[in-house]
């Protein structure tokens, strides 16, 4: 099976939030309450149990590519639709004790709510802060990559609704190449800080949702080097083993001496 992936391009996002609405409509997700944030046009705040696409609004004192350079004080308004990364090595999946979180045939990471026992280990194990527990329902929720739609040969609702093709859906390696072409095109046009966010070098081993961004990943709440918590398992277990041996040794010595 090909690996399904998203390529989300901040340089063409217009901040319309059609992806957020399409996602909620298709997946029957409830609203998050009617709370105004005062943070640009972002009243969604963050990804969560009932927000599987989140459009981030970034007001930055940075020049917008080559536009009017040197004439006015630099300023740009950036938008980006964030989503579950469907990591190659998924922290949530590895932490799940019940097997509720599985990898599907399109290589996406899927939470089976009827199996989930609501322990919340996945919530703390996600390096991107994506997975969240719905405390009313008692189980964990996150983007399903519209698994039901994909099974029927349809693209995910967010990609379908995106009016500017900022959200592209396709095969991972093809999208990786497209992202490179896009970044080069942007750089040639004077957007020198265009780059791909796809942390292949870290322990997550790359993601199935990659991004074209302008500026640094931190500005978009992306960790520059995300780590899967399970990489610390070996050292943690070794330390535990050593401690246990020491305790046993001390106890034995107590009898001997």
């Amino acid at each position: 099976m090909p690996i399904s992936a998203f390529l989300t391009d901040a340089s063409v996002c217009i901040g319309c939030k059609a992806c957020e609405v399409a996602c909620k409509e298709w997946n029957h997700i409830p609203d998050d309450g009617f709370e105004w944030s005062g943070q640009s046009y972002d009243n969604t705040h963050a990804l969560g149990a009932s927000t599987w696409r989140h459009v981030l609004f970034l007001e930055e004192k940075q020049p917008m590519g080559p536009q009017l350079a040197g004439i006015e004080e630099p300023f740009r308004w950036q938008f980006l639709s964030d989503v579950c990364k469907h990591c190659e090595n998924a922290g949530c999946l590895e932490a799940c004790p019940t097997g509720a979180i599985i990898r599907t045939e399109v290589e996406s990471v899927y939470v089976q709510n009827d199996v989930c026992n609501g322990c919340g280990y996945c919530v703390v194990s996600c390096p991107f802060g994506v997975v969240d527990k719905n405390h009313e329902v008692g189980t964990a929720f996150k983007c399903t990559f519209c698994y039901d739609r994909q099974r029927d040969g349809l693209m995910p609702a967010c990609a379908k609704a995106c009016p500017t093709q900022s959200i592209r859906f396709g095969e991972l390696e093809e999208l990786r190449q497209e992202a490179q072409v896009r970044v080069k095109e942007l750089q040639d046009r004077g957007y020198n800080d265009a780059q791909i966010y796809d942390p292949t070098g870290s322990s997550v081993g790359g993601t199935h949702a990659i991004f074209v961004i302008l500026g640094q990943p931190e500005a978009y709440n992306f960790p520059p080097a995300p780590e899967v918590p399970t990489i610390h398992m070996k050292s943690a277990w070794s330390a535990a083993l050593v401690s246990a041996l020491v305790v046993v040794l001390v106890v034995c010595l107590a009898f001997v001496l």
Binding site: D32, F34, W36, G38, N43, T44, E59, K61, E72
Partner: protein, 766 residues
């Protein structure tokens, strides 16, 4: 420019520019505050005297060329060298000589370098190999001189050669799905379908012959005017429309005054309107000076509201701010409100026309719930019942109603009229055997054809061939997808995409051209030109209609076949765009101190609709209303839906960090906004996106105010339109909602009646 525009026309000596008369053009009547435009006509001097203007009554900016026929243009002289001091080119050059980058910087607050960079960039998109387009939205139109701003863009595009060519043009970004459609087949009071003028009471419209003589042009495409109006009357009145009764012309209602939205709400406030139908509109939130409009609603005897939910317009009598403040008392309001549930767009068949003039059919996906019905159902069955009543009462006033054709077939359990039959009627048919016509060239003035809207003719040329429903795009221009009026031409005036001799300007930008071998126009689009008229065609003397236009005149709807840099006809406020400030402004007009704002605009000033002076110390900030992506206009369709309401849950205004620190306002805090019309409170969004402007040495703060909230729905808030004045631009009667004066104070407004006291105290401040 010399071939395709009127740059070379020599204007009469009688014409005087704003530069000569201190801010008004010749013909200004200061008493009546309107223009007599006869000195703007080309030929006024050549004919040895002024052409007597033919008064066509109240001015309409929506119809074919405004009020009156362009026939009055008269004979004219040209100077192809463009050097004659009175030729349009030289007049325009003098008119704009004082509009320098320095003036732009000083009075618009746009830095000189920035202006020059934009100007240079845009001007580089011109010439045989390049074109540039101008897109605009309501920031340009909702002003006391909106159409003139768009005219300025048109002049620019004419000078750059960017009209009628691929990638050129001026594109209106509309605020709704079918705003274009609602002017083509109008929801406006002053035009009939296809931009035919609505007849005015008593003026050149006693009978059809007078009306046709007034509006038909002897030269150019509008020579066919009589065919279109007679075919329309045949579509309306069927067999009842006969030659003897002027095809039923006198059954058409007459325009007796200003029946625009603003006009009729003022009349309503003055107890002159008995009842009102409101369909798909929410004036209690979206109307300018919505406080005034809500009070006006309370003067009605009856009000019918058809919408998806009970919106503010239907509930004003028990939960509006005026009720809370004691200005309106429910027990004293005699308005009987009928709320009828309407169907949404996915619950009905129909057609949208977008800004590219593209008709796109949409199919009903589901039946509307419960008693909800679509508009076609409502209008059809209302008409049917009225016609049945009229049958019992054969008074002459009912003759037109009785004659109306009303014979659509009904389908389904809901007895919905078949909407495709309406589209067929719009397309037109031969009266004798009801054969559909293939286009407007088949329409006749002898009553043998009927057509509901001539410009749409061809959309349904044969039974079963609904071209609005085409979904097979075959080329870059989208032919095969939908139907672009007229005649599926994707780019209007596309004859201008070829040189005067008929060859394309360039290979890269070719669109239509003259094929010398076949002796016809051909190309990638449907030519907007008579197919066999050669580029070197010269009209014989006294030719009429399209035959009177030479082979190098692409603008066939104009009687002279040229694009009008100088508009001799059609505008109520002058032949050239001129700088005026808004009706309220933080500065006086630097060019014409005696004419601060558009002199022909109507302020409709009265106690309920007061204005600030320009400038006004009580109201130092400049506000503009606008919309957010997350909501739809008054919010009636979006504030009720949780997935949209949560995205923009509260009324806020946007201010700069400078204004925030000057007034002690914190991001996320509350502010009170006041104008001479009203008082509202909003949350403050402090953002660098808003910037103060340095205007004539003075720091002027801007306030951005989205207008989606009202007193009902999942998310509520005060309405920004309480702040806007009800004013009327003279051509199309739109209000000024951009660049009006306001004040911003930290903190919430007072509750109840105390809010009025707070507001009045501010108004009394010196």
């Amino acid at each position: 420019m010399t071939h395709y525009t009127n740059a070379s026309i020599i204007l009469p000596e009688e014409f005087k520019d704003t530069e000569d008369l201190g801010g008004v053009f010749s013909g200004w009547d200061a008493k009546d505050r309107r223009y007599d435009g006869s000195s703007w006509l080309y030929g006024a001097c050549v004919q040895g005297g002024r052409v007597a203007p033919r008064d066509a009554g109240p001015h309409s900016g929506h119809c074919k060329d405004g009020a009156g026929a362009a026939a009055d243009l008269g004979e004219c002289e040209c100077d192809p060298t463009l050097s004659h001091p009175r030729c349009v080119y030289q007049v325009v050059k003098r008119h704009y000589a004082r509009y320098t980058p320095e003036l732009v910087e000083r009075f618009c607050g746009v830095p000189r370098e920035r202006f020059l960079k934009i100007a240079e960039t845009f001007c580089s998109a011109s010439g045989p190999e390049k074109t540039g387009a101008i897109c605009y939205a309501l920031g340009w139109t909702q002003q006391s001189k909106g159409p003139q701003i768009i005219r300025a863009a048109a002049i620019l595009q004419m000078l750059l050669g960017n009209i009628g060519r691929p990638g050129g043009g001026i594109l209106a970004l509309r605020g709704h799905a079918s705003i274009q459609g609602s002017t083509d087949i109008p929801t406006l009071y002053d035009i009939l379908p296809g931009y035919l003028p609505m007849p005015n009471l008593g003026l050149n419209s006693h009978n059809l012959a007078d009306y046709v003589a007034t509006y038909r042009d002897p030269t150019g495409w509008w020579w066919n005017f009589d065919k279109y109006i007679v075919s329309l009357l045949k579509a309306y009145y069927g067999e009842g429309a006969k030659k003897e009764n002027d095809w039923g012309f006198n059954w058409l209602p007459r325009v007796t005054g200003d029946h625009s939205h603003q006009g009729y709400f003022l009349e309503m406030l003055d107890d002159k309107v008995e009842g009102l139908f409101v369909m798909g509109q929410n004036p209690a939130v979206a109307g300018p000076n919505s406080r005034l409009e809500r009070k006006a609603l309370s003067k009605l005897k009856w009000l019918v509201v058809r919408d998806l939910v009970e919106l503010e317009t239907a509930s004003f009598w028990y939960d509006s701010p005026e009720v809370e403040r004691g200005e309106l008392r429910p027990e004293e309001i005699a308005t009987e409100v009928f709320l009828l549930p309407a169907a949404g767009h996915a619950e009905k068949d129909g057609c949208f026309t977008n800004t590219q003039r593209l008709l796109q059919w949409h199919q009903k996906a589901v039946d509307p719930p419960g008693d909800a019905r679509n508009e076609t159902w409502f209008m059809y069955h209302l008409g049917r019942r009225l016609k049945e009543k009229a049958k019992q009462d054969p008074r002459p006033r009912n003759a037109g109603l009785s004659a109306l054709t009303w014979d659509y077939s009904l389908e389904g359990t809901m007895q919905e009229p078949k909407v495709e039959e309406v589209l067929q009627e719009i397309n037109g048919y031969a009266v004798a055997d009801h054969t559909l016509v293939s286009g407007f060239n088949e329409l006749k003035a002898d009553g043998s054809t009927a057509c509901g809207c001539w410009i749409y003719s061809g959309v349904f040329p044969r039974p079963g061939e609904n071209r609005a429903n085409q979904r097979n795009s075959q080329d870059l221009w989208g032919h095969g997808w939908g139907f672009a009026w007229p005649a599926d031409r994707r780019i209007l005036y596309n004859r201008a995409s070829a040189r005067p001799d008929g060859r394309p300007w360039s290979e890269r930008k070719k669109l239509v051209w003259w094929n010398e071998q076949n002796k016809e126009w051909t190309g990638l689009d449907v030519p907007d030109f008579t197919r066999t008229k050669a580029p070197n065609y010269q009209p014989p003397k006294h030719a009429q209609g399209d035959e009177a236009l030479a082979g190098d005149k692409p603008f066939i709807l104009h009687p002279d076949g040229t694009a009008w840099i100088f508009a001799p006809k059609g505008l109520a406020d002058g032949p050239l765009p001129t700088h005026y400030e808004g009706l309220e402004a933080p500065v006086s007009n630097p060019l014409y101190p005696d004419q601060p704002s558009n002199p022909a605009a109507m302020r409709d000033e009265r106690p309920e609709n007061r204005y600030a002076s320009s400038p006004d110390e009580r109201f130092p900030c400049v506000m503009s209303t606008y919309r957010l992506t997350e909501h739809h206009t008054s919010g009636a369709m979006s504030r009720m839906l949780p997935h949209l309401a949560e995205l923009q849950p509260e009324f806020f205004c946007e201010i700069s960090p400078e204004l925030a620190s000057e007034r002690g306002i914190e991001n996320g805090g509350w502010v009170t906004l006041m104008t001479p019309r009203g008082i509202v409170e909003a949350r403050a969004l402090v953002t660098r996106r808003m910037r103060p402007l340095l205007i004539n040495g003075k720091m002027v703060h801007q306030v951005g105010v989205p207008y989606h909230w009202g007193y009902r729905g999942l998310v509520k808030g005060d309405s920004a339109n309480d702040l806007v004045a009800l004013s009327e631009e003279p051509n199309v009667r739109i209000m000024e909602a951009k660049g009006i004066l306001c004040d911003v104070a930290p903190g919430r407004r007072a509750r109840g009646k105390a809010a009025l006291d707070q507001w009045n105290a501010h108004l009394r401040r010196k």
